[in-house]
Symmetry: C2
């Protein structure tokens, strides 16, 4: 038999997963429990409450899908789109493209409203498309993990509602690190993952469905083409009926519950401010090094910073050296920006001053080792940290 | 904020989940890791190898779906069935019914071949249906979790192959506790869960697809209606291409890898013998108490024993007392046998002589407390344990 496999304990500053607090890891290591145990039902209720707080919603149907963030996207689309439904998707990065792909797979007739990567969607263009197409569903990404852009959504959601459409929001890279206000914004359905700003390993997908969205699900003329993601069934499992649907991934929920407890203890505003402060310092440091930020300044995303790879520098050797010599993971670019940007995450437990300084120092050192001599970013980052302390 | 939630540490002898060995729980509590980290790719390869050993297959496409066992069923059906495809499903319990439901959801034209709950499917009836219907797919459950029946599958798989159909097998309650020989039996696709005999918490679904099955997937005339479960994409993520598909649930895979290591160290034959020995002792004890076993004697399932609830005894108060006073979970009946049977699992780490004696004693005591005085089963169980030591 081969030797035991041991996790190398990285500093995880890619686009997710982020590092997990020991409290959450310990919670996950408790003995597992049956999915109909009275204690487990208490846990499900707690997780529902914690997620409602995080999403800032009163939606009764707020639960964790038993899959990764991507399964959350799929769960929303298989329930909200029927074959032939018109769907307007705002595309400003890789995950907007995924929304298009998945909406088409379930038979949606998709209208794309696009903008160049690195910029936010123009609400006017989306509103125009919504008024023209009269879709059943409007969907876009709140925090584009591929570009580091934070999308304002209130205007778009209002236009969707005015046109009688449902509004679906991807909050995978925002939830838990950046303000998300489902009810105030008029969002009907949203999904996320646990492994970025929520502070729990990958494996669950928080979703929330408004009463309007559930009404749409109940009035479908075709069956939801998925049993596993059927929200009508899942809401009976998570709701008071407790009708068995599948054997819940109990230990993942132990972790999520603990992460939600930690979020409640920290406070949402304090948590968002922490993500902002550390990202500001990282940005200040990168700019002091002479590096150019990729995302539109007006829409920068506190949980994920995209930085342009300097002219003449190869992406992969830098990231490999960071991993090998500094035990530090950062992300490369996806699709059209592959080899052109790095993506540096400061999410959840990873978002700390220590990691900001460590990453800046590691990057500086690795670039120097490759013969690229840049100014040092540490002083600028430290100054930014102190200014907002 | 409410108090911290703490798992009550049950003895889990229901139909799953089963108790998890501390080694596996500790492995899951390691710091998480990125899904493209070179160390993680090593882990994926190890898990693939471990699953091939467990399934007794050489199928390159052998991987863990990022969802619970139920998602494994769905993953197999969305990939292998196209709208209008004829599917023959053997139904001898609740999970056979689920196969019918899911095959119909993805557009399959389903022919059911049924048998009374508690009995095994008659291969002749299935073979007859296969020859008559000429289906694209034949599917049945190897170990029916609702009835405790172990289904022989070789003849059925041979008939499927002869008719040009693929054979799909549900191994949720057999894999890791009862012999499963995918290649020798001529099974084309199979799925399982991790939380029963495999010894890892719920949250992953091992699947294996033969080359014939993958050929069918590649030659589909319609797109797989699910992105999350698209085996062509998943096999590129788990295979040498490593094309990003979703952020793998790393900590669940830490646990599965450790559980697979433990299985390899124990040895499959020894592990199957352990499950047999403990189940035999439980059955001997229950029979000595004067209780009647539910499943057909010729097809009893070593991982799950079904026992008829004695005349005049109410199901729920007994199970509640076992949980409350003995910290012991057993399962009730599903569907038509609700209130008529108990389901007692001895799976994975739970399958031990200590648990056999504990459950017999607890059940005896609880029944006595409710005024149902039965003979003691301990001596018979101990004798059975010694006879096969």
């Amino acid at each position: 038999m081969p030797d035991t496999w041991i996790s190398p304990e990285r500093v995880l500053m890619g686009p997710g997963p982020s590092n997990i607090h020991p409290r959450v890891l310990r919670a996950m290591a408790q003995q597992t429990i049956g999915h109909l145990d009275p204690h487990f039902l208490v846990l499900m209720d707690r997780v529902g409450e914690g997620l409602r707080h995080l999403f800032q919603t009163r939606n009764p149907v707020t639960l964790a899908i038993s899959g990764t963030g991507m399964s959350g996207m799929e769960a929303c689309l298989v329930n909200l789109v029927e074959p032939g439904d018109r769907v307007v998707v705002g595309v400003h990065g890789y995950f907007g493209e995924r929304l298009v792909d998945l909406a088409a797979r379930v038979g949606g007739e998709v209208t794309r409203v696009e903008v160049e990567w690195g910029r936010a969607l123009d609400p006017a263009a989306l509103i125009d498309a919504v008024r023209r197409v009269r879709p059943a569903l409007v969907a876009c990404v709140h925090a584009e993990t591929s570009t580091g852009v934070l999308q304002p959504v209130e205007e778009i959601a209002a236009a969707a509602r005015e046109a009688g459409a449902l509004m679906l929001l991807d909050t995978v890279t925002s939830l838990g690190g950046v303000e998300v206000r489902i009810d105030d914004w008029g969002v009907d359905a949203a999904y996320s993952g646990t492994q970025k700003c929520v502070g729990c390993p990958s494996g669950l997908a928080p979703v929330t469905f408004s009463e309007r969205a559930m009404e749409r699900v109940r009035r479908r003329s075709t069956r939801v083409p998925s049993f596993y993601f059927d929200l009508a069934l899942l809401s009976q499992y998570w709701g008071t009926e407790r009708i068995y649907h599948h054997t819940a991934p109990a230990n993942m929920l132990f972790g999520l519950n603990e992460a939600l407890d930690m979020i409640a203890a920290e406070g949402l505003e304090v948590r968002y401010a922490r993500h902002q402060r550390n990202a500001r310092a990282l940005r200040a440091g990168l700019q002091a090094m002479g590096l150019r930020l990729f995302a539109d300044e007006a829409y920068w995303l506190p949980s994920l910073t995209t930085v342009c790879i300097p002219e003449g520098v190869n992406d992969l050797p830098v990231r490999q050296a960071l991993l090998r010599d500094w035990n530090l993971e950062i992300g490369g670019g996806l699709g059209p920006v592959r080899g052109r940007v790095w993506r540096i995450g400061l999410m959840g437990h990873t978002s700390s001053p220590a990691n900001v300084l460590y990453a800046l120092h590691g990057l500086h050192s690795v670039l120097a080792g490759l013969g690229v001599s840049l100014p040092d970013g540490l002083a600028a980052a430290a100054q930014a940290l102190e200014a907002s302390a």
